[in-house]
Symmetry: none
Subunit: 402 residues, 2 copies
């Protein structure tokens, strides 16, 4: 039994007066999604809980069957996993931004002039030694990077150094518990030394010559501890592959023991190469039971407040879906969170979900959208219940009791 | 963004043969509620959990977004908060009744002849000194009062002294855990000394002369520990005001950091001044984002087994609602629990709920009642999920994750 799980990032919305009180999903022509709704069972899903806007990391933890309230302590671990760092349970991880500060440590640019190539700078950071802990540092895309501390007596309960706004001074990292005092001290020491190293680094001197902002500070945030996640192939006997561009999504999937498929042309935006992702999904099904295909353009259109782009992208993805129908026994379509075009942020509205495949108790929902699915046979479920439901339909349910 | 949350205490019911198998809510003419159902999104709500009859205190904790299973240990804290006592997390609070006992401590009247003015008696109780703890005592309406102990090493895990029936002897308060031994001893000591003080009090001697039952004993019950509730204005950035007559409801709202509006003529009964409560709600909206309007007459009619009075009161409240529509961006109608006229007690049936306002995914429910709302777009939610849902619609959702 094979399954495609199509996750449409931020596709769900609220009714918009300018669309005749319909949502983009209600308005779009999407014959493949609607045909699957007719054949399958539909419902509403609270990825985390009613009224709670999910992040990308917590949403995908839930969609892979983990309880985010139990395992999530911060974004750092998923950034680090997405960056390809080989993590151990107990490691402390933080998201890092290469940023520009002035002599008084005032933030001038949180992205160091949208710096692109940070490989040499990252290598220099990785050579910093701290007493008693190992420093692992890896840059990802643009100004983004991940920092991991490995050692004894560490804690994730520390504040950010990132002030989250321009013109503010970088913050001292503070412990939020007594156990975290050592970690905060080490992170402040690392920040200070990273600043020295970066200021004097030839790559930055070169940038200055070219009139570009130097990447002379690491803004740290989202400290979290690496949780132990029981891998999907152990929990549900499902080998899984992840076809996604977004680092956080790849990070969650990697921590769940899935294979990460890198797809050239997958951007996480409206310009992503859907054909390439579709092909990668079909190939992944050859050696996996679960192919998770994550598409993010909906979310970009929503953050931009562009309803027309959102509708168009839904129609393009529906078109791609035509090539996937029939390639697996089951197709599940889910949305990780609602991102209303009118709000431009994630919200806590429930999202539509469907499962089509052999044995499902098909209901009479005839369209895959927010309000049609509210009348579906799945009722209203939680995100963490979706994968167990799917695994069970695939004959891989984990019995509880005798 | 502003919201009115109308809470109709005990309004939900079960179908009654004598009403043609309709519920009072299905039978009543309530054009305003039905219009809001047409414009909004409806659903069923288990205030606590399916089949669990909620109390007023636990129901309102849930309706304000707290998990009653986590924060509720007894009614005492909410009685004390409703009485206006300034509480600290960790205080132990109990509900107290002024009662009449004979020489052998047999309860003759649990309400001391429905005594009205207990101010002097309460002041005398408040002067009792116990070793190592502070005694705070305040009477509220009629025979009702609240007792608070403040100090170290106290526990709420103690039994009641109230035997809950006439003709029984008052009970020794017993510890339910080893940690509670000191608290039980202090409460028994307080009970003994309160009995001495009350027996000899001039106000009671005066009552005896007039042939009235003396208030010569304090029956204690519902010990609970004051929980830390994150205030609504911190959790959801919502300033809230409570327009209610019921002390328990006011207590819960006070502990949630809301402003308590005292409304002359608000009785908590069928004779309450709905116009005054409506006006107070409109005024509260001037300086608050959330006005919680609690109306209790439905519950009184139900406890009295009076279906006609319940239907009439529903129609009166619907009429009042007409003056509130348009005064806020959102209107939510909720019921705290079902109180069937045929049962005369709270039951665990789910209650209808609706939210009307901008951005809601309006469904095709056309009437606000128990069975129409069961087909609504909200599906079946828990009480504690209502306020997060509402806050999220108001743009105040609390994101979990990155």
């Amino acid at each position: 039994m094979k399954t495609i799980m199509l996750i449409c990032d931020g596709m769900a919305d609220r009714p918009m007066p300018e669309l005749g009180n319909r949502t983009p999903l209600e308005l779009a022509k999407k014959p493949n999604m609607d045909e699957l709704a007719r054949r399958g069972i539909c419902g509403l899903m609270d990825t985390i809980a009613p009224g709670v806007p999910p992040g990308s990391d917590t949403a995908h933890l839930a969609l892979l069957g983990y309880d985010p309230q139990e395992v999530y302590t911060g974004r750092g671990p998923f950034e680090a996993a997405g960056a390809g760092i080989d993590l151990r349970a107990g490691d402390i991880a933080l998201r890092a931004n290469f940023a520009t500060v002035d002599d008084k440590l005032i933030v001038k640019d949180r992205r160091a002039g949208r710096i692109q190539d940070t490989g040499q700078l990252a290598a220099a950071i990785g050579r910093i030694k701290l007493p008693g802990v190992r420093v692992i540092f890896k840059s990802t895309v643009g100004h983004r990077a991940a920092l991991v501390l490995r050692g004894r007596g560490l804690s994730h309960e520390v504040t950010d150094s990132d002030p989250h706004e321009l013109g503010s001074k970088v913050l001292q990292i503070k412990p939020l518990s007594r156990e975290a005092a050592k970690t905060a001290r080490l992170l402040n020491e690392l920040s200070r030394r990273a600043h020295q190293v970066l200021k004097a680094h030839p790559a930055n001197l070169e940038r200055a010559k070219g009139g570009m902002l130097p990447a002379n500070y690491l803004l740290l945030r989202g400290a979290g501890v690496i949780p132990h996640l029981e891998p999907l192939h152990e929990r549900f006997k499902l080998r899984g592959a992840c076809i996604a561009a977004a680092a956080l999504v790849k990070g969650v999937c990697r921590m769940a023991g899935m294979t990460i498929v890198d797809v050239p042309g997958a951007t996480g935006g409206l310009d992503t190469n859907l054909n390439a992702k579709c092909d990668a999904t079909l190939r992944a099904l050859e050696s996996n039971e679960l192919a998770l295909l994550h598409v993010k353009g909906f979310d970009e259109a929503s953050h931009d407040g562009n309803a027309a782009a959102k509708v168009q992208f839904i129609e393009r993805v529906d078109d791609m879906l035509g090539s996937l129908v029939g390639a697996a026994d089951f197709i599940t379509i889910a949305v990780d969170h609602t991102t209303p075009v009118g709000v431009r942020e994630h919200t806590g509205d429930p999202v539509p979900v469907l499962i089509a495949g052999p044995g499902v108790r098909a209901d009479d929902v005839r369209a895959y959208d927010e309000r049609s699915c509210a009348r579906g046979g799945l009722g209203r479920i939680r995100g963490k219940d979706l994968l167990p439901t799917l695994a069970d339909l695939m004959g891989k349910g984990r019995k509880f009791g005798a």
